[in-house]
Symmetry: C2
Subunit: 325 residues, 2 copies
Protein backbone atom coordinates (compact mmCIF):
# COMPACT_ATOMS: atom_id res chain seq x y z
CA UNK A 1 0.00 0.00 0.00
CA UNK A 2 0.77 3.64 -0.47
CA UNK A 3 3.79 3.47 -2.65
CA UNK A 4 3.47 6.65 -4.59
CA UNK A 5 5.04 8.02 -7.71
CA UNK A 6 5.93 11.67 -7.26
CA UNK A 7 4.36 14.40 -5.15
CA UNK A 8 1.97 17.24 -5.90
CA UNK A 9 4.80 19.45 -7.08
CA UNK A 10 6.68 16.92 -9.16
CA UNK A 11 5.64 15.85 -12.61
CA UNK A 12 6.00 12.58 -14.31
CA UNK A 13 7.31 12.57 -17.88
CA UNK A 14 5.58 9.20 -18.40
CA UNK A 15 2.14 10.84 -18.19
CA UNK A 16 0.06 10.89 -21.37
CA UNK A 17 -3.26 12.70 -21.60
CA UNK A 18 -5.71 11.02 -23.96
CA UNK A 19 -8.63 13.16 -25.15
CA UNK A 20 -11.68 10.94 -25.72
CA UNK A 21 -14.24 13.71 -26.28
CA UNK A 22 -15.39 12.57 -29.72
CA UNK A 23 -15.41 8.88 -28.88
CA UNK A 24 -17.13 8.90 -25.49
CA UNK A 25 -19.01 12.14 -26.19
CA UNK A 26 -20.22 10.64 -29.46
CA UNK A 27 -22.25 8.19 -27.41
CA UNK A 28 -24.32 11.20 -26.31
CA UNK A 29 -25.14 12.60 -29.76
CA UNK A 30 -24.62 9.55 -32.01
CA UNK A 31 -21.39 11.12 -33.27
CA UNK A 32 -23.16 14.01 -34.99
CA UNK A 33 -20.42 16.58 -34.53
CA UNK A 34 -19.84 19.42 -36.97
CA UNK A 35 -16.46 19.32 -38.69
CA UNK A 36 -15.66 22.71 -37.16
CA UNK A 37 -16.14 21.23 -33.67
CA UNK A 38 -13.75 18.38 -34.45
CA UNK A 39 -11.19 20.63 -36.13
CA UNK A 40 -11.18 23.17 -33.29
CA UNK A 41 -10.90 20.38 -30.73
CA UNK A 42 -7.97 18.94 -32.65
CA UNK A 43 -6.23 22.34 -32.65
CA UNK A 44 -7.07 23.00 -28.98
CA UNK A 45 -5.80 19.59 -27.89
CA UNK A 46 -2.58 19.97 -29.84
CA UNK A 47 -2.01 23.43 -28.36
CA UNK A 48 -2.88 22.21 -24.86
CA UNK A 49 -0.19 19.53 -25.03
CA UNK A 50 -2.66 16.63 -25.11
CA UNK A 51 -0.76 13.50 -26.16
CA UNK A 52 -3.45 11.52 -27.98
CA UNK A 53 -6.79 12.49 -29.46
CA UNK A 54 -9.30 9.73 -30.02
CA UNK A 55 -11.51 10.39 -33.06
CA UNK A 56 -14.15 7.75 -32.47
CA UNK A 57 -14.92 4.10 -33.10
CA UNK A 58 -13.95 1.79 -35.90
CA UNK A 59 -17.44 0.28 -35.97
CA UNK A 60 -18.47 -2.11 -38.73
CA UNK A 61 -20.92 -0.78 -41.32
CA UNK A 62 -22.23 -4.36 -41.60
CA UNK A 63 -23.55 -4.03 -38.06
CA UNK A 64 -24.38 -0.32 -37.76
CA UNK A 65 -26.39 1.65 -40.26
CA UNK A 66 -24.20 4.45 -41.58
CA UNK A 67 -27.12 6.86 -41.86
CA UNK A 68 -27.94 6.54 -38.15
CA UNK A 69 -24.63 8.00 -37.03
CA UNK A 70 -22.13 10.72 -37.69
CA UNK A 71 -18.85 9.69 -39.36
CA UNK A 72 -16.96 9.26 -36.07
CA UNK A 73 -18.74 6.02 -35.34
CA UNK A 74 -16.74 4.56 -38.22
CA UNK A 75 -13.60 6.71 -38.43
CA UNK A 76 -12.87 6.09 -42.10
CA UNK A 77 -9.35 7.11 -42.98
CA UNK A 78 -10.76 9.87 -45.23
CA UNK A 79 -12.85 11.32 -42.42
CA UNK A 80 -9.88 11.68 -40.12
CA UNK A 81 -7.62 13.04 -42.85
CA UNK A 82 -10.28 15.64 -43.72
CA UNK A 83 -9.54 17.11 -40.27
CA UNK A 84 -5.88 16.40 -39.67
CA UNK A 85 -4.31 15.99 -43.11
CA UNK A 86 -1.15 14.05 -42.39
CA UNK A 87 -1.35 15.17 -38.73
CA UNK A 88 1.57 17.51 -38.67
CA UNK A 89 1.49 17.87 -34.86
CA UNK A 90 3.17 16.18 -31.89
CA UNK A 91 -0.21 14.76 -30.90
CA UNK A 92 -1.01 11.19 -31.87
CA UNK A 93 -4.33 9.93 -33.24
CA UNK A 94 -6.31 7.15 -31.62
CA UNK A 95 -9.43 5.14 -32.49
CA UNK A 96 -11.37 2.61 -30.47
CA UNK A 97 -12.36 -0.82 -31.81
CA UNK A 98 -14.92 -2.88 -29.90
CA UNK A 99 -14.56 -6.63 -29.86
CA UNK A 100 -17.42 -8.07 -31.92
CA UNK A 101 -18.41 -4.75 -33.46
CA UNK A 102 -15.42 -4.11 -35.67
CA UNK A 103 -14.49 -5.84 -38.91
CA UNK A 104 -10.87 -5.19 -38.10
CA UNK A 105 -9.38 -7.40 -40.80
CA UNK A 106 -11.19 -5.34 -43.42
CA UNK A 107 -11.47 -1.89 -41.87
CA UNK A 108 -8.12 -1.31 -40.21
CA UNK A 109 -5.48 -0.40 -42.81
CA UNK A 110 -1.80 -1.11 -42.45
CA UNK A 111 -0.22 1.61 -40.31
CA UNK A 112 1.87 2.74 -43.31
CA UNK A 113 -1.38 3.79 -45.05
CA UNK A 114 -3.04 5.39 -42.03
CA UNK A 115 -2.75 8.58 -40.00
CA UNK A 116 -3.93 6.63 -36.94
CA UNK A 117 -1.25 5.83 -34.35
CA UNK A 118 -3.06 3.95 -31.62
CA UNK A 119 -5.87 1.39 -31.74
CA UNK A 120 -7.60 0.91 -28.40
CA UNK A 121 -9.36 -2.43 -28.21
CA UNK A 122 -12.40 -2.43 -25.92
CA UNK A 123 -13.47 -5.75 -24.49
CA UNK A 124 -15.42 -7.34 -21.70
CA UNK A 125 -13.57 -9.82 -19.59
CA UNK A 126 -15.24 -12.82 -21.25
CA UNK A 127 -14.07 -11.77 -24.72
CA UNK A 128 -10.39 -11.37 -23.88
CA UNK A 129 -9.33 -14.16 -26.29
CA UNK A 130 -10.99 -12.29 -29.18
CA UNK A 131 -9.41 -9.07 -27.96
CA UNK A 132 -6.01 -10.74 -28.09
CA UNK A 133 -6.61 -11.69 -31.72
CA UNK A 134 -7.38 -8.06 -32.47
CA UNK A 135 -4.33 -6.88 -30.52
CA UNK A 136 -2.05 -9.21 -32.47
CA UNK A 137 -3.61 -8.18 -35.77
CA UNK A 138 -3.28 -4.44 -35.09
CA UNK A 139 0.19 -4.84 -33.62
CA UNK A 140 1.29 -6.68 -36.74
CA UNK A 141 -0.18 -3.92 -38.91
CA UNK A 142 2.19 -1.55 -37.11
CA UNK A 143 -0.05 0.22 -34.58
CA UNK A 144 0.39 1.02 -30.95
CA UNK A 145 -2.33 -0.87 -29.08
CA UNK A 146 -4.11 -0.82 -25.76
CA UNK A 147 -6.71 -3.15 -24.34
CA UNK A 148 -9.53 -1.55 -22.38
CA UNK A 149 -11.26 -4.06 -20.13
CA UNK A 150 -14.74 -2.69 -19.47
CA UNK A 151 -17.14 -3.21 -16.57
CA UNK A 152 -14.29 -4.35 -14.34
CA UNK A 153 -16.32 -3.54 -11.22
CA UNK A 154 -18.49 -6.57 -11.94
CA UNK A 155 -15.69 -9.02 -12.65
CA UNK A 156 -14.43 -11.55 -10.14
CA UNK A 157 -10.90 -11.13 -8.82
CA UNK A 158 -9.75 -14.48 -10.22
CA UNK A 159 -11.11 -13.53 -13.66
CA UNK A 160 -9.21 -10.25 -13.59
CA UNK A 161 -6.01 -12.06 -12.65
CA UNK A 162 -6.46 -14.56 -15.45
CA UNK A 163 -7.27 -11.83 -17.96
CA UNK A 164 -4.17 -9.88 -16.95
CA UNK A 165 -2.07 -13.02 -17.27
CA UNK A 166 -3.32 -13.61 -20.84
CA UNK A 167 -2.85 -9.98 -21.78
CA UNK A 168 0.65 -9.97 -20.32
CA UNK A 169 1.62 -12.56 -22.94
CA UNK A 170 0.20 -10.47 -25.81
CA UNK A 171 2.05 -7.76 -27.73
CA UNK A 172 -0.29 -5.03 -26.41
CA UNK A 173 1.46 -1.84 -25.30
CA UNK A 174 -0.91 -0.78 -22.56
CA UNK A 175 -3.82 -1.96 -20.49
CA UNK A 176 -6.64 0.25 -19.32
CA UNK A 177 -8.49 0.22 -16.05
CA UNK A 178 -12.04 1.17 -17.08
CA UNK A 179 -14.68 2.17 -14.54
CA UNK A 180 -17.63 1.74 -16.93
CA UNK A 181 -20.30 2.20 -14.29
CA UNK A 182 -18.64 5.00 -12.34
CA UNK A 183 -18.94 2.81 -9.28
CA UNK A 184 -15.36 2.55 -8.08
CA UNK A 185 -14.09 4.36 -5.00
CA UNK A 186 -10.50 5.51 -4.70
CA UNK A 187 -9.57 2.61 -2.42
CA UNK A 188 -10.67 0.19 -5.12
CA UNK A 189 -8.78 2.14 -7.76
CA UNK A 190 -5.68 1.87 -5.58
CA UNK A 191 -6.02 -1.90 -5.38
CA UNK A 192 -6.86 -2.41 -9.06
CA UNK A 193 -4.09 -0.05 -10.17
CA UNK A 194 -1.58 -2.00 -8.08
CA UNK A 195 -2.78 -5.24 -9.65
CA UNK A 196 -2.62 -3.88 -13.21
CA UNK A 197 0.73 -2.22 -12.60
CA UNK A 198 2.28 -5.39 -11.22
CA UNK A 199 1.44 -7.22 -14.45
CA UNK A 200 2.39 -4.24 -16.58
CA UNK A 201 5.81 -3.81 -15.00
CA UNK A 202 6.51 -7.51 -15.35
CA UNK A 203 5.78 -7.40 -19.07
CA UNK A 204 7.02 -3.92 -19.96
CA UNK A 205 3.57 -2.42 -20.54
CA UNK A 206 1.92 0.76 -19.27
CA UNK A 207 -1.41 1.20 -17.51
CA UNK A 208 -4.16 3.73 -18.32
CA UNK A 209 -7.39 4.79 -16.64
CA UNK A 210 -10.78 5.69 -18.06
CA UNK A 211 -13.15 6.93 -15.36
CA UNK A 212 -16.86 7.84 -15.30
CA UNK A 213 -18.42 10.55 -13.18
CA UNK A 214 -21.54 8.85 -11.80
CA UNK A 215 -20.47 9.53 -8.22
CA UNK A 216 -18.46 12.68 -9.06
CA UNK A 217 -15.33 10.61 -8.65
CA UNK A 218 -14.00 10.57 -12.23
CA UNK A 219 -11.34 13.22 -11.57
CA UNK A 220 -10.61 11.90 -8.06
CA UNK A 221 -10.16 8.34 -9.35
CA UNK A 222 -8.01 9.53 -12.25
CA UNK A 223 -5.56 11.43 -10.04
CA UNK A 224 -5.61 8.57 -7.53
CA UNK A 225 -4.56 6.16 -10.27
CA UNK A 226 -1.96 8.65 -11.48
CA UNK A 227 -0.47 8.90 -7.99
CA UNK A 228 -0.28 5.11 -7.97
CA UNK A 229 1.74 4.92 -11.18
CA UNK A 230 -0.91 4.79 -13.91
CA UNK A 231 0.32 6.93 -16.80
CA UNK A 232 -2.29 7.13 -19.60
CA UNK A 233 -5.12 9.38 -18.43
CA UNK A 234 -8.37 9.68 -20.36
CA UNK A 235 -10.23 12.97 -20.25
CA UNK A 236 -12.90 14.74 -22.29
CA UNK A 237 -13.73 18.40 -22.79
CA UNK A 238 -16.25 19.39 -20.12
CA UNK A 239 -16.37 15.70 -19.21
CA UNK A 240 -18.54 15.03 -22.29
CA UNK A 241 -19.29 11.32 -22.38
CA UNK A 242 -21.96 8.72 -21.94
CA UNK A 243 -24.29 9.32 -19.03
CA UNK A 244 -22.55 11.10 -16.19
CA UNK A 245 -19.55 11.68 -18.43
CA UNK A 246 -15.85 11.50 -17.71
CA UNK A 247 -12.94 13.17 -16.01
CA UNK A 248 -12.79 16.58 -17.70
CA UNK A 249 -9.74 17.79 -19.58
CA UNK A 250 -9.91 21.12 -17.76
CA UNK A 251 -9.83 19.40 -14.35
CA UNK A 252 -6.91 17.22 -15.36
CA UNK A 253 -4.78 19.87 -17.10
CA UNK A 254 -5.30 22.23 -14.15
CA UNK A 255 -3.90 19.54 -11.89
CA UNK A 256 -0.93 18.23 -13.87
CA UNK A 257 2.37 19.95 -13.20
CA UNK A 258 4.03 18.91 -16.46
CA UNK A 259 4.93 22.26 -18.08
CA UNK A 260 3.93 21.01 -21.53
CA UNK A 261 0.23 21.17 -20.62
CA UNK A 262 -1.90 24.31 -20.86
CA UNK A 263 -5.54 24.71 -19.88
CA UNK A 264 -5.99 27.87 -21.98
CA UNK A 265 -6.81 26.30 -25.39
CA UNK A 266 -9.34 24.04 -23.66
CA UNK A 267 -11.07 27.01 -21.97
CA UNK A 268 -11.38 28.66 -25.38
CA UNK A 269 -12.82 25.47 -26.83
CA UNK A 270 -15.37 25.17 -24.03
CA UNK A 271 -16.57 28.74 -24.69
CA UNK A 272 -16.81 28.32 -28.42
CA UNK A 273 -18.18 24.81 -28.76
CA UNK A 274 -19.28 23.15 -25.52
CA UNK A 275 -21.54 25.96 -24.28
CA UNK A 276 -23.45 26.09 -27.61
CA UNK A 277 -23.72 22.29 -27.65
CA UNK A 278 -25.31 22.34 -24.20
CA UNK A 279 -27.67 25.11 -25.29
CA UNK A 280 -28.76 22.91 -28.21
CA UNK A 281 -29.94 20.43 -25.60
CA UNK A 282 -27.15 17.86 -25.72
CA UNK A 283 -27.11 16.52 -22.15
CA UNK A 284 -24.46 14.74 -20.10
CA UNK A 285 -23.07 14.93 -16.59
CA UNK A 286 -23.68 14.03 -12.99
CA UNK A 287 -27.21 13.79 -11.62
CA UNK A 288 -29.07 11.76 -8.98
CA UNK A 289 -30.02 8.78 -11.19
CA UNK A 290 -26.38 8.37 -12.25
CA UNK A 291 -25.29 8.62 -8.63
CA UNK A 292 -27.68 5.79 -7.76
CA UNK A 293 -26.62 3.45 -10.59
CA UNK A 294 -23.01 4.21 -9.63
CA UNK A 295 -23.61 3.45 -5.94
CA UNK A 296 -25.29 0.19 -6.91
CA UNK A 297 -22.64 -0.74 -9.48
CA UNK A 298 -25.15 -0.94 -12.34
CA UNK A 299 -24.97 -0.18 -16.03
CA UNK A 300 -26.13 3.42 -16.41
CA UNK A 301 -28.76 2.61 -19.05
CA UNK A 302 -31.73 3.12 -16.69
CA UNK A 303 -30.26 6.42 -15.54
CA UNK A 304 -29.74 7.50 -19.15
CA UNK A 305 -33.43 6.78 -19.80
CA UNK A 306 -34.45 8.63 -16.62
CA UNK A 307 -32.34 11.62 -17.65
CA UNK A 308 -33.90 11.66 -21.13
CA UNK A 309 -37.34 11.67 -19.51
CA UNK A 310 -36.20 14.39 -17.07
CA UNK A 311 -37.41 12.24 -14.19
CA UNK A 312 -37.06 13.69 -10.71
CA UNK A 313 -39.02 10.99 -8.87
CA UNK A 314 -35.76 9.83 -7.33
CA UNK A 315 -37.29 7.51 -4.78
CA UNK A 316 -39.27 5.57 -7.40
CA UNK A 317 -36.18 5.35 -9.54
CA UNK A 318 -34.21 4.01 -6.57
CA UNK A 319 -36.90 1.43 -5.81
CA UNK A 320 -37.02 0.32 -9.45
CA UNK A 321 -33.26 -0.20 -9.43
CA UNK A 322 -33.54 -2.35 -6.34
CA UNK A 323 -36.39 -4.30 -7.88
CA UNK A 324 -34.33 -5.58 -10.76
CA UNK A 325 -32.47 -8.07 -8.60
CA UNK B 1 1.33 7.19 5.41
CA UNK B 2 -1.54 4.92 4.63
CA UNK B 3 -2.64 3.87 8.03
CA UNK B 4 -6.33 3.34 7.46
CA UNK B 5 -9.33 2.94 9.69
CA UNK B 6 -11.63 0.22 8.40
CA UNK B 7 -12.27 -1.05 4.88
CA UNK B 8 -15.04 -0.48 2.35
CA UNK B 9 -17.19 -3.14 3.97
CA UNK B 10 -16.63 -2.21 7.58
CA UNK B 11 -18.34 0.66 9.29
CA UNK B 12 -17.12 2.90 12.01
CA UNK B 13 -19.46 3.57 14.92
CA UNK B 14 -17.53 6.82 15.58
CA UNK B 15 -18.85 8.35 12.33
CA UNK B 16 -21.24 11.29 12.68
CA UNK B 17 -23.00 12.85 9.70
CA UNK B 18 -23.60 16.58 10.11
CA UNK B 19 -26.22 18.12 7.81
CA UNK B 20 -25.25 21.72 7.04
CA UNK B 21 -27.87 22.40 4.33
CA UNK B 22 -29.50 25.39 6.01
CA UNK B 23 -26.26 26.94 7.21
CA UNK B 24 -24.11 26.60 4.10
CA UNK B 25 -27.10 26.59 1.72
CA UNK B 26 -28.35 29.74 3.44
CA UNK B 27 -25.33 31.54 1.98
CA UNK B 28 -26.92 30.98 -1.43
CA UNK B 29 -30.38 32.42 -0.67
CA UNK B 30 -29.67 34.66 2.35
CA UNK B 31 -31.40 32.09 4.56
CA UNK B 32 -34.82 32.66 2.99
CA UNK B 33 -36.14 29.12 3.43
CA UNK B 34 -39.80 28.37 3.93
CA UNK B 35 -40.64 26.76 7.26
CA UNK B 36 -41.96 23.71 5.41
CA UNK B 37 -38.54 23.22 3.79
CA UNK B 38 -36.82 23.35 7.17
CA UNK B 39 -39.37 21.10 8.85
CA UNK B 40 -39.26 18.48 6.09
CA UNK B 41 -35.47 18.55 6.10
CA UNK B 42 -35.50 18.06 9.86
CA UNK B 43 -37.79 15.05 9.52
CA UNK B 44 -35.82 13.63 6.56
CA UNK B 45 -32.49 13.98 8.36
CA UNK B 46 -33.83 12.35 11.51
CA UNK B 47 -35.26 9.46 9.48
CA UNK B 48 -32.05 9.12 7.46
CA UNK B 49 -30.00 8.65 10.63
CA UNK B 50 -28.17 11.98 10.30
CA UNK B 51 -26.48 12.73 13.62
CA UNK B 52 -26.51 16.53 13.71
CA UNK B 53 -28.54 19.11 11.80
CA UNK B 54 -27.14 22.61 11.66
CA UNK B 55 -29.87 25.24 11.56
CA UNK B 56 -27.80 28.25 10.62
CA UNK B 57 -25.67 30.99 12.11
CA UNK B 58 -25.84 32.79 15.42
CA UNK B 59 -25.10 36.13 13.75
CA UNK B 60 -25.35 39.37 15.67
CA UNK B 61 -28.30 41.62 14.84
CA UNK B 62 -26.05 44.57 15.71
CA UNK B 63 -23.96 43.72 12.66
CA UNK B 64 -26.48 42.26 10.21
CA UNK B 65 -29.81 43.83 9.36
CA UNK B 66 -32.55 41.41 10.34
CA UNK B 67 -34.74 42.38 7.40
CA UNK B 68 -32.02 41.44 4.88
CA UNK B 69 -32.00 37.77 5.86
CA UNK B 70 -34.21 34.85 6.72
CA UNK B 71 -34.34 33.79 10.39
CA UNK B 72 -31.61 31.14 10.02
CA UNK B 73 -28.93 33.79 9.86
CA UNK B 74 -29.67 34.43 13.53
CA UNK B 75 -31.12 31.15 14.85
CA UNK B 76 -33.12 32.63 17.71
CA UNK B 77 -34.16 29.96 20.16
CA UNK B 78 -37.82 30.56 19.19
CA UNK B 79 -37.12 30.03 15.49
CA UNK B 80 -35.53 26.64 16.08
CA UNK B 81 -38.20 25.56 18.55
CA UNK B 82 -40.91 26.52 16.03
CA UNK B 83 -39.54 23.65 13.90
CA UNK B 84 -38.29 21.10 16.42
CA UNK B 85 -40.23 21.76 19.63
CA UNK B 86 -38.07 20.15 22.30
CA UNK B 87 -36.38 18.05 19.57
CA UNK B 88 -37.77 14.69 20.46
CA UNK B 89 -35.43 12.81 18.09
CA UNK B 90 -32.03 11.12 18.34
CA UNK B 91 -30.60 13.85 16.12
CA UNK B 92 -28.76 16.72 17.73
CA UNK B 93 -29.07 20.41 16.80
CA UNK B 94 -26.12 22.54 15.81
CA UNK B 95 -25.53 26.21 15.05
CA UNK B 96 -22.48 28.02 13.75
CA UNK B 97 -21.00 31.11 15.38
CA UNK B 98 -18.44 33.17 13.47
CA UNK B 99 -15.66 34.85 15.40
CA UNK B 100 -16.29 38.59 15.25
CA UNK B 101 -19.83 38.28 13.93
CA UNK B 102 -21.55 36.81 16.95
CA UNK B 103 -22.44 38.53 20.22
CA UNK B 104 -22.04 35.22 21.97
CA UNK B 105 -22.18 36.53 25.50
CA UNK B 106 -25.61 37.98 24.81
CA UNK B 107 -27.08 35.64 22.18
CA UNK B 108 -26.06 32.18 23.28
CA UNK B 109 -28.28 31.00 26.13
CA UNK B 110 -27.21 28.56 28.81
CA UNK B 111 -27.57 25.03 27.43
CA UNK B 112 -30.27 24.31 30.06
CA UNK B 113 -32.51 26.88 28.31
CA UNK B 114 -31.71 25.86 24.73
CA UNK B 115 -32.60 23.07 22.32
CA UNK B 116 -29.19 23.54 20.66
CA UNK B 117 -26.61 20.83 21.41
CA UNK B 118 -23.53 21.85 19.49
CA UNK B 119 -22.00 25.27 18.79
CA UNK B 120 -19.50 25.23 15.93
CA UNK B 121 -17.11 28.15 16.14
CA UNK B 122 -15.81 29.29 12.76
CA UNK B 123 -12.52 31.14 12.72
CA UNK B 124 -9.63 32.12 10.51
CA UNK B 125 -6.24 31.10 11.73
CA UNK B 126 -5.36 34.62 12.89
CA UNK B 127 -8.39 34.83 15.18
CA UNK B 128 -7.77 31.58 17.06
CA UNK B 129 -7.33 33.37 20.42
CA UNK B 130 -10.81 34.91 20.05
CA UNK B 131 -12.15 31.53 18.98
CA UNK B 132 -10.75 30.01 22.16
CA UNK B 133 -12.60 32.60 24.23
CA UNK B 134 -15.82 31.61 22.48
CA UNK B 135 -15.08 27.91 22.93
CA UNK B 136 -14.52 28.38 26.65
CA UNK B 137 -17.66 30.47 26.99
CA UNK B 138 -19.88 27.98 25.12
CA UNK B 139 -18.28 25.01 26.85
CA UNK B 140 -19.00 26.63 30.23
CA UNK B 141 -22.61 27.21 29.15
CA UNK B 142 -22.88 23.45 28.72
CA UNK B 143 -22.62 22.98 24.94
CA UNK B 144 -20.65 20.58 22.82
CA UNK B 145 -18.25 22.67 20.75
CA UNK B 146 -16.15 22.40 17.63
CA UNK B 147 -13.73 24.84 16.11
CA UNK B 148 -13.77 25.13 12.34
CA UNK B 149 -10.57 26.67 11.01
CA UNK B 150 -11.41 28.16 7.63
CA UNK B 151 -9.25 28.85 4.58
CA UNK B 152 -6.66 26.37 5.80
CA UNK B 153 -5.28 25.96 2.27
CA UNK B 154 -3.76 29.44 2.55
CA UNK B 155 -2.23 29.01 6.01
CA UNK B 156 1.43 28.27 6.60
CA UNK B 157 2.35 24.92 8.09
CA UNK B 158 3.89 26.48 11.20
CA UNK B 159 0.73 28.54 11.78
CA UNK B 160 -1.42 25.43 11.54
CA UNK B 161 0.79 23.63 14.04
CA UNK B 162 0.64 26.55 16.45
CA UNK B 163 -3.13 26.85 16.07
CA UNK B 164 -3.58 23.14 16.76
CA UNK B 165 -1.36 23.42 19.81
CA UNK B 166 -3.48 26.26 21.24
CA UNK B 167 -6.71 24.45 20.43
CA UNK B 168 -5.42 21.28 22.00
CA UNK B 169 -5.25 23.09 25.34
CA UNK B 170 -8.85 24.35 25.02
CA UNK B 171 -11.96 22.47 26.15
CA UNK B 172 -13.23 22.14 22.53
CA UNK B 173 -14.63 18.70 21.64
CA UNK B 174 -13.73 18.60 18.00
CA UNK B 175 -11.69 20.37 15.36
CA UNK B 176 -12.74 20.74 11.76
CA UNK B 177 -10.62 20.58 8.67
CA UNK B 178 -12.32 23.11 6.37
CA UNK B 179 -11.52 23.33 2.66
CA UNK B 180 -13.10 26.77 2.20
CA UNK B 181 -11.85 27.25 -1.34
CA UNK B 182 -12.40 23.70 -2.59
CA UNK B 183 -8.74 23.68 -3.52
CA UNK B 184 -7.41 20.68 -1.62
CA UNK B 185 -6.49 17.42 -3.31
CA UNK B 186 -6.82 14.08 -1.54
CA UNK B 187 -3.08 13.87 -0.86
CA UNK B 188 -3.26 17.16 1.00
CA UNK B 189 -6.34 16.00 2.91
CA UNK B 190 -4.38 12.89 3.93
CA UNK B 191 -1.56 15.01 5.32
CA UNK B 192 -3.78 17.57 7.05
CA UNK B 193 -6.00 14.85 8.49
CA UNK B 194 -2.96 13.10 9.93
CA UNK B 195 -1.79 16.36 11.47
CA UNK B 196 -5.19 17.18 12.97
CA UNK B 197 -5.70 13.61 14.17
CA UNK B 198 -2.33 13.51 15.90
CA UNK B 199 -3.32 16.57 17.97
CA UNK B 200 -6.84 15.29 18.49
CA UNK B 201 -5.77 11.88 19.74
CA UNK B 202 -3.28 13.46 22.11
CA UNK B 203 -5.98 15.65 23.66
CA UNK B 204 -9.01 13.35 23.44
CA UNK B 205 -10.77 15.29 20.70
CA UNK B 206 -12.33 14.26 17.39
CA UNK B 207 -11.73 15.64 13.89
CA UNK B 208 -14.34 16.65 11.31
CA UNK B 209 -14.23 17.67 7.67
CA UNK B 210 -16.14 20.30 5.73
CA UNK B 211 -15.38 20.13 2.00
CA UNK B 212 -16.31 22.29 -0.98
CA UNK B 213 -16.94 21.06 -4.49
CA UNK B 214 -15.05 23.57 -6.65
CA UNK B 215 -12.99 20.80 -8.25
CA UNK B 216 -15.67 18.10 -7.83
CA UNK B 217 -13.61 16.71 -4.97
CA UNK B 218 -15.93 17.41 -2.00
CA UNK B 219 -17.15 13.81 -1.76
CA UNK B 220 -13.73 12.37 -2.63
CA UNK B 221 -12.02 14.49 0.03
CA UNK B 222 -14.68 13.63 2.60
CA UNK B 223 -14.33 9.87 2.16
CA UNK B 224 -10.54 10.24 2.03
CA UNK B 225 -10.59 12.00 5.40
CA UNK B 226 -13.00 9.38 6.72
CA UNK B 227 -10.67 6.58 5.67
CA UNK B 228 -7.90 8.40 7.50
CA UNK B 229 -9.79 8.51 10.79
CA UNK B 230 -11.80 11.75 10.58
CA UNK B 231 -15.22 11.08 12.06
CA UNK B 232 -17.51 14.14 11.79
CA UNK B 233 -18.56 14.47 8.16
CA UNK B 234 -20.38 17.55 6.86
CA UNK B 235 -22.84 17.12 4.02
CA UNK B 236 -25.75 19.06 2.53
CA UNK B 237 -28.82 17.98 0.57
CA UNK B 238 -27.92 18.07 -3.12
CA UNK B 239 -24.64 19.66 -2.03
CA UNK B 240 -26.44 22.98 -1.46
CA UNK B 241 -23.89 25.48 -0.24
CA UNK B 242 -21.95 28.57 -1.13
CA UNK B 243 -20.58 28.61 -4.65
CA UNK B 244 -19.77 25.12 -5.88
CA UNK B 245 -21.48 23.67 -2.82
CA UNK B 246 -20.52 20.77 -0.60
CA UNK B 247 -20.32 17.03 -0.33
CA UNK B 248 -23.92 15.92 -0.82
CA UNK B 249 -25.82 13.95 1.80
CA UNK B 250 -27.00 11.51 -0.88
CA UNK B 251 -23.41 10.78 -1.96
CA UNK B 252 -22.27 10.29 1.61
CA UNK B 253 -25.19 8.16 2.85
CA UNK B 254 -24.94 5.95 -0.25
CA UNK B 255 -21.31 5.30 0.67
CA UNK B 256 -21.47 4.75 4.42
CA UNK B 257 -21.98 1.17 5.52
CA UNK B 258 -23.33 1.98 8.99
CA UNK B 259 -26.80 0.36 9.00
CA UNK B 260 -28.34 3.31 10.83
CA UNK B 261 -28.13 5.47 7.69
CA UNK B 262 -30.74 5.49 4.93
CA UNK B 263 -30.67 7.46 1.68
CA UNK B 264 -34.44 7.11 1.11
CA UNK B 265 -35.70 10.07 3.20
CA UNK B 266 -33.11 12.28 1.51
CA UNK B 267 -34.23 11.21 -1.99
CA UNK B 268 -37.80 12.13 -1.03
CA UNK B 269 -36.62 15.50 0.27
CA UNK B 270 -34.70 16.20 -2.95
CA UNK B 271 -37.81 15.52 -5.02
CA UNK B 272 -40.10 17.61 -2.89
CA UNK B 273 -37.91 20.60 -2.04
CA UNK B 274 -34.61 20.77 -3.86
CA UNK B 275 -35.95 20.38 -7.40
CA UNK B 276 -38.50 23.20 -6.89
CA UNK B 277 -35.81 25.40 -5.31
CA UNK B 278 -33.62 24.94 -8.37
CA UNK B 279 -36.57 25.70 -10.66
CA UNK B 280 -37.08 28.97 -8.76
CA UNK B 281 -33.60 29.92 -9.90
CA UNK B 282 -31.57 29.29 -6.74
CA UNK B 283 -28.15 28.32 -8.12
CA UNK B 284 -25.23 26.41 -6.64
CA UNK B 285 -22.86 23.70 -7.74
CA UNK B 286 -19.79 22.96 -9.81
CA UNK B 287 -18.95 24.99 -12.89
CA UNK B 288 -15.84 26.19 -14.73
CA UNK B 289 -15.30 29.45 -12.78
CA UNK B 290 -15.42 27.51 -9.49
CA UNK B 291 -13.01 24.94 -10.90
CA UNK B 292 -10.58 27.73 -11.74
CA UNK B 293 -10.73 29.47 -8.34
CA UNK B 294 -10.33 26.03 -6.74
CA UNK B 295 -7.31 25.17 -8.90
CA UNK B 296 -5.75 28.53 -8.01
CA UNK B 297 -6.61 28.27 -4.31
CA UNK B 298 -8.64 31.49 -4.33
CA UNK B 299 -11.71 32.66 -2.48
CA UNK B 300 -14.68 31.81 -4.71
CA UNK B 301 -16.13 35.33 -4.67
CA UNK B 302 -15.13 36.13 -8.25
CA UNK B 303 -16.60 32.82 -9.41
CA UNK B 304 -19.81 33.54 -7.50
CA UNK B 305 -20.04 36.88 -9.34
CA UNK B 306 -19.29 35.20 -12.68
CA UNK B 307 -21.98 32.59 -12.02
CA UNK B 308 -24.52 35.29 -11.15
CA UNK B 309 -23.71 37.03 -14.44
CA UNK B 310 -23.90 33.67 -16.28
CA UNK B 311 -20.47 34.35 -17.74
CA UNK B 312 -19.11 31.75 -20.13
CA UNK B 313 -16.06 33.72 -21.27
CA UNK B 314 -13.89 31.29 -19.38
CA UNK B 315 -10.59 32.41 -20.81
CA UNK B 316 -11.16 36.05 -19.79
CA UNK B 317 -12.21 34.90 -16.36
CA UNK B 318 -9.04 32.84 -16.09
CA UNK B 319 -6.88 35.76 -17.19
CA UNK B 320 -8.59 38.09 -14.71
CA UNK B 321 -7.87 35.62 -11.91
CA UNK B 322 -4.22 35.55 -12.86
CA UNK B 323 -4.10 39.34 -13.07
CA UNK B 324 -4.96 39.80 -9.43
CA UNK B 325 -1.54 38.74 -8.25
Amino acid sequence: MSKKKGSLLSYRPDIKVVDATIRDGGLVNDFHFKDEFIRDLYIANAEAGVDYMEFGYKASKDIFNESDFGPWKFCDEDSIRRIVGDNDTDMKISVMADVGRCNYKRDILPKSESVIDLVRIATYINTIPSAIHMIEHCHNLGYETTVNIMAISNAKEAEVSEALELIGQSPVDGIYLVDSYGSLYMEQVDDLADKYLAMAEEHGKFVGIHAHNNQQLAFANTITALTRGVSYLDATASGMGRGAGNCSTEQLLGFLKNPKYSIIPILKFLEKHIEPLKKEGVVWGYNIPYLLTGQMNRHPRSAIAATKQERTDYLNFYLELNDKD
